[in-house]
Structures are given as structure tokens and as C-alpha cells.
């Protein structure tokens, strides 16, 4: 069953009066439930732009985007925030944790905006920290954690609201290869439990761990390989 559908999706950035950057020309892509997908392609090909659109961080310039049976291409800013909060989990290359909050508090952030009760939030955050193998480090702030630990926190945070899709933009880009492998193992595990995941990567070996690789170049999909 298809979870998300990108139909002839376009994204044009307007820079100044008449300079336009066409980031995505026409993207057609179907993401099925439980799929483990890698997006690969040269730098500037539009991978991050696709992920931002799928994650409802941005709105397409043209085409349609259907997520969970709902056309979200024309939603308002507030509605998109709602969709992000409930249905999307983000993992970033640079972790993007809030520095003044502890690991547990960071995991709670998406729950806060879903108005979950404080005590329930804390319980859920502890459970998730356990799940990503954070252990006693959960009460530390990001600056006191290693890159791998920070990315574990980010994954726990992405899982907090039990999203439809987890989107990871080069999640191992800032990690050494051994730590990267540990993080990828968590993704593999999540996939095996039925999670839908999209990973943007430059690394062929990362791509080969997934179910299929979508190759992008110059704002269009140029290939779709099953592993």
C-alpha cells in the first residue's frame, strides 16, 4: 500500500527578481508502507529538497504530494506544522539537538507540541532512550555526548510521535565509519520492525543495505534499483 506519492513534483527557488533556481524539475515517486529507501545522487541534484518536501518542511512549486491519503501540497503553514509533528520524524546530518536541553528533554520536544502530559512525556522519552541504547547518558546535554550518542538521541526524538515516515539526510555524514555502522544498524532494526525510512546518502555501501535506491540527477529521478 502506498504511503506517500510524489506526482510531477517541482520546486523552483526564486532568488531576487528574475533569477530562478530549478531544484526539482519533475519528481515522480511512490513510497510504500514499510519501505526502506535510499536516495542517492551527485551534490546539488535535489536530494535534500525532495526530503524537505516529503517532510512537509517546504511546499512544492508544482505537482502534487499525497501523504497518508491526504493531499498536503496546498496546506497552510499551521497545517503543515501539524503534519510534521504527527507524521514525520527527522534525522539530520548535524544532529540538530537543542544545546541547552538534556538528551531526554530533546526527545520530549515533539511530544511537547502534541500537548502530551509532562509525566507521560518523560516516561515515553526514557523508553525511547532505552530503545536506541543511550543508557545512563540520557541525562546529559548534547555537548557532553559523542557524535554517535547525539545521533541516537536524534533517532529517539524522530521516533517519539510514532511517525509514518522517518527521513534521514546523510545521518552518518558527520560520523566515523564505525559509529556510522552502529547508527545504520539502528535504522536496519527499525526497518525490520516495519518502519518506513528514507535515507539520503552518498555512500554506496549505505545504499545497498536498503530495500531500494532512487537515483536523482539534476532534479529528476534517473533510476530506481531494487536491492
Amino acid at each position: 500500500m502506498s504511503l506517500a506519492q510524489l506526482v510531477d513534483l517541482r520546486k523552483v527557488y526564486r532568488m531576487g527578481a528574475d533569477v530562478e533556481v530549478v531544484a526539482l524539475r519533475s519528481i515522480n515517486l511512490t513510497i510504500d508502507e514499510g519501505q526502506y529507501l535510499a536516495i542517492m545522487g551527485p551534490s546539488g541534484s535535489g536530494k535534500s529538497t525532495i526530503l524537505n518536501l516529503v517532510g512537509c518542511l517546504d511546499r512544492p512549486s508544482g505537482g502534487r504530494y499525497i501523504l497518508g491519503g491526504q493531499d498536503v501540497s496546498g496546506l497552510s503553514d499551521g497545517e503543515l506544522s501539524e503534519v510534521r509533528g504527527r507524521r514525520i520524524g527527522f534525522v539530520f546530518q548535524s544532529f540538530n539537538l537543542i544545546p541547552q536541553l538534556t538528551a531526554l528533554d530533546n526527545i520530549e520536544v515533539p511530544l511537547f507540541y502534541q500537548r502530551m502530559h509532562r509525566r507521560e512525556r518523560r516516561r515515553r522519552a526514557q523508553e525511547l532512550a532505552e530503545r536506541v541504547g543511550l543508557g545512563p547518558r540520557a541525562r546529559h546535554k548534547p555537548a557532553e555526548l559523542s557524535g554517535g550518542e547525539q545521533q541516537r538521541v536524534a533517532i529517539a526524538r524522530a521516533l517519539a510521535n510514532d511517525p509514518l515516515i522517518i527521513l534521514a539526510d546523510e545521518p552518518t555524514g558527520n560520523l566515523d565509519s564505525r559509529t556510522g555502522q552502529e547508527i545504520l544498524a539502528i535504522f536496519d532494526d527499525l526497518s525490520s520492525r516495519g518502519r518506513t525510512l528514507i535515507i539520503v546518502t552518498h555512500d554506496e555501501s549505505v545504499g545497498r543495505r536498503t530495500h531500494s535506491i532512487v537515483r536523482v540527477a539534476d532534479g529528476v529521478v534517473v533510476g530506481h534499483e531494487k536491492n
Partner: protein
């Protein structure tokens, strides 16, 4: 669930402010000083105003006081009854009192009074006093409170008895540490029996309460009007003035009391008219004083000061508000990435607005809450400092400073100060919070 969310947002704001305690406190100071200024000004103004009001009210808000005014020396009329000195004939008469009584509708009480300055003696003790010859109902009109013994009675008036009631200071000076009631003292060459002693009343017109000379209520001896007229006669000799000067004056004062405040002005107009008709207009020897008008003038003056204080406070609150806004704009830039993260995690624009607005409101409200007691403390220090300074420099005007001695923090002033600080918090937070909320999440996430 709104309250749950509000408390959570509040907690978030407070935690964020606690991350930079020094910065938060410094930012708060602007509002603190502003609120301090509001409270201090308002409570000093209120204190002075109440003090002056009290003084005016001692004169009675529904009273109209007609006073005899001694005309300038050059225009004096010589009466051949003196021995060398010039006698001045002036002032109010019993006829005046009767005319007023019959012409002023709604005049409750008319109190004629005579004032005679002389020396009171009790055995070897002497003190300068003012004898006030008056009628028993003077007590109601001027809210006289007898501390010991009794006040003058109609019988005293009728019998022309030599009885007197002492002001607090007179009793203290002449008969310290003893019971004055029942004693006999000498007023000039006449013996008077003390029947009562009044509680301390203080000065009138101390801080400009009523135009004209100040009067020390505690240095007065009250005697029946009949006794005063008969014993001292209409011709008064003031030996204390150095050379012998005579004055002829039937009544020094007539107080007209009306029932309602609205009647004061019309009655005062009629009285003025009457006196103009029967007295020499070229050489006016009377004056009509209306405490109520003084009270109204006071109220206007008070508002002038309130507006002045409010302007000063407004400027300092404005500066405080700009300070908060400045810090908040810097904080928003500094936390751009955090804003991006929160937006990606589902925060709506209004969540971001609330987050930053809560911070500024908490800061300013806290500043206000601390500013109120500090301002109240400052308000009590101002008159203390001024009194000290006046004493050190040997400057007079203690009477005027006495008005400063009581500062009053009214609930209105506190509400105004707190309300303003909350308002400043919102006003200074709106723009930074709006800026934060309008950031593009993707760009914010990439911000270094």
C-alpha cells in the same frame, strides 16, 4: 488543556531565562526602575495630597469661613479712645452675622467668633495663646474632640461664665503632669476655670492647606463668646506688638456651615454679595475663604503631579522596554537553529510566538513585582532624606516637609504599575517573537 499548555510554556520560558541569569536580571532592571519611579512618585503625591486634604477637611468641606482682615495701616481711622496710639476699626459685626443668617438659605450653623491674642498665666507659668470666643456648636463645625472634661455648653454662653477649654499645647505648657480640668488660670486680668482639654490637632495651613496665615490649633483657649465680648470688650490693645495699638473689631470670624457640598458655592456668592454691600469696598476688611474650593484646587494640582510622574515613568519604562526588545532580538538570532528544530518537530508559528513572548512578559512582570516594594521603600526614604537635608542645611519649611512624611501606596498605583509592566513585556516581545515565528524552518535549521 489550555492551562496545562500555558504552564508548560511558562516553564519553558523561565528555564530559558535561567540559562542566562545575569543577562535576565540586567534586562529586568530597566522595568524595575521604571516601576520604582511610578510607585515612588504616586505614593509621594498621594501622601502629600492626603495630608493636605486632611488639613482642608479640618476646616470643614461644607464650611464657608468669613474672616476679618485688618486693613493696611495708612488707611486707618483714628478713634479718640486710646492714649497716644492709633485705633483701627474694622472687621465683622454681629449685624453681618445676622444678615448672613437671614439671607443664606440652607445655612446650618452660623458661628461668630472672636480672636484675642494674649498671655495666659497659671501661677508662675506663662504662655502666649489665642483666645477664641465662640459658641458651643463651633465644636460640630470644626470637629473638635475633647480629650478630658467637657466642651462649652449653651448654659456657659447664657451665663457669660468664665470657663475655658484648653488646646493640647496650652495645657501641656501651663499645667504639665497634672489634671488641668478644675484648675483656674488667668487670661489677662480675668480668672477662668478650665472645664476641658482638647486632643492634639496640629496646624492648619501647614503645607498651604488654606490660604492665609497658619494657625496652631493646639495653642488656642476656647471661651464662651459672651464672656469674651464682655471681659475683653470690643477695643483690643495689643501690647506685645511693642507700641500700643488699638483695634476695634466685633467679630473676627463667622463660619457658615451648609448641609451639602453643592450649596457651598451659591452660599459663598450670597455672603460675598452681602458683605460687599455693607462694607467699604474701597477698603475691604473681610475675606471669604472656601475650604472646598481649596480641596478642588488640590485635586487638580495632584493630577498635575501624577501626570508629571507618569511621564517620567513612561520614559523609563519605554527605555526598559527597548532594552528587553533589544536583548530579545539578539536572543532570537542566537537561537535561530533552535527555532528551526522546534518548527521541524511540529511547533506552529504561534507556539514560537508564545515561547518568546512568555520570556519578555516574565522578565518585565518580575521586574515590576520587584519594583513595587522597592519603589514603596524609596518613597519612604525620599521625605526622610529631604528632612535630613533640610535639617543639615538649616533650611526651614519643616511644615511643608511634614506633608511628605506620609507616603501612601494605593492599590490603584500597584495595579497600574504591574499592568504597565505586563504591557511593556508584551509590547517589547511582540516584534522579536513575530520575527522568530516567521523564519523559514529550512533556513533556520541550516543556520550556524
Amino acid at each position: 488543556m489550555l492551562s496545562l499548555k500555558t504552564t508548560e510554556t511558562l516553564r519553558l520560558g523561565v528555564e530559558s531565562l535561567l540559562l542566562h541569569p545575569a543577562r535576565s536580571i540586567l534586562t529586568m532592571l530597566g522595568i524595575l526602575f521604571g516601576v520604582c519611579a511610578v510607585i515612588a512618585t504616586l505614593s509621594v503625591v498621594e501622601g502629600i495630597s492626603r495630608k493636605m486634604q486632611e488639613e482642608v477637611l479640618k476646616m470643614g468641606a461644607t464650611n464657608i469661613i468669613v474672616q476679618a482682615v485688618r486693613p493696611a495701616e495708612s488707611q486707618s481711622t483714628t478713634a479718640g479712645s486710646g492714649s497716644g496710639g492709633a485705633a483701627i476699626m474694622y472687621g465683622l459685626t454681629y449685624e453681618d452675622a445676622e444678615r448672613i443668617q437671614s439671607s443664606v438659605a440652607g445655612a446650618d450653623v452660623i458661628v461668630p467668633a472672636r480672636r484675642i491674642r494674649t498671655t495666659a498665666r497659671y501661677f508662675t507659668r506663662r504662655t502666649r495663646v489665642e483666645i477664641l470666643g465662640t459658641v458651643p456648636w463651633y465644636a460640630d463645625t470644626y470637629r473638635i474632640e475633647v480629650e478630658r472634661g467637657r466642651w462649652l455648653t449653651p448654659l456657659d454662653l447664657h451665663k457669660t461664665d468664665n470657663v475655658c477649654v484648653l488646646g493640647a499645647a496650652v495645657a501641656r505648657d501651663l499645667m504639665p503632669r497634672m489634671e488641668p480640668v478644675g484648675q483656674t488660670l488667668w487670661l489677662g486680668e480675668y480668672a477662668y476655670r478650665v472645664v476641658g482639654v482638647l486632643g492634639a490637632r496640629g496646624m492648619s495651613g501647614a503645607s498651604g492647606g488654606l490660604g492665609g496665615k497658619t494657625e496652631d490649633f493646639d495653642r488656642v483657649i476656647y471661651v464662651p463668646l459672651t464672656a469674651a465680648s464682655r471681659r475683653f470688650g470690643e477695643v483690643l490693645v495689643d501690647r506685645a506688638a511693642g507700641m500700643n495699638s488699638f483695634e476695634v473689631c466685633e467679630l473676627h470670624e463667622i463660619t457658615v456651615k451648609v448641609a451639602e457640598a453643592e450649596q457651598v458655592r451659591p452660599a459663598a456668592r450670597i455672603i460675598t454679595h452681602l458683605l460687599e454691600k455693607f462694607h467699604d469696598t474701597a477698603r475691604p476688611d473681610w475675606a471669604v475663604r472656601v475650604p472646598l474650593e481649596r480641596l478642588e484646587a488640590l485635586e487638580r494640582t495632584k493630577w498635575l503631579f501624577v501626570v508629571l510622574g507618569a511621564s517620567i515613568a513612561a520614559i523609563s519604562l519605554l527605555v526598559g522596554g527597548i532594552g528587553i526588545m533589544n536583548i530579545m532580538l539578539a536572543s532570537v538570532t542566537e537561537r535561530t537553529r533552535e527555532i528551526g528544530i522546534r518548527r521541524a518537530m511540529g511547533a506552529k508559528r504561534k507556539d514560537i510566538v508564545q515561547q518568546f513572548l512568555v520570556e519578555t512578559v516574565v522578565l518585565s512582570t518580575l521586574g515590576g513585582a520587584v519594583g513595587v516594594p522597592v519603589g514603596a521603600g524609596l518613597a519612604t526614604l525620599i521625605p526622610w532624606g529631604l528632612t535630613k537635608a533640610a535639617a543639615t542645611l538649616g533650611v526651614g519649611g519643616e511644615a511643608a516637609l511634614a506633608g511628605l512624611a506620609q507616603t501612601v501606596v494605593t492599590p490603584g498605583a500597584v495595579i497600574l504599575a504591574l499592568g504597565t509592566s505586563v504591557f511593556v513585556g508584551v509590547a517589547s516581545g511582540v516584534y522579536p517573537a513575530y520575527r522568530a515565528s516567521m523564519m523559514d524552518p529550512i533556513r533556520a535549521l541550516r543556520h550556524e
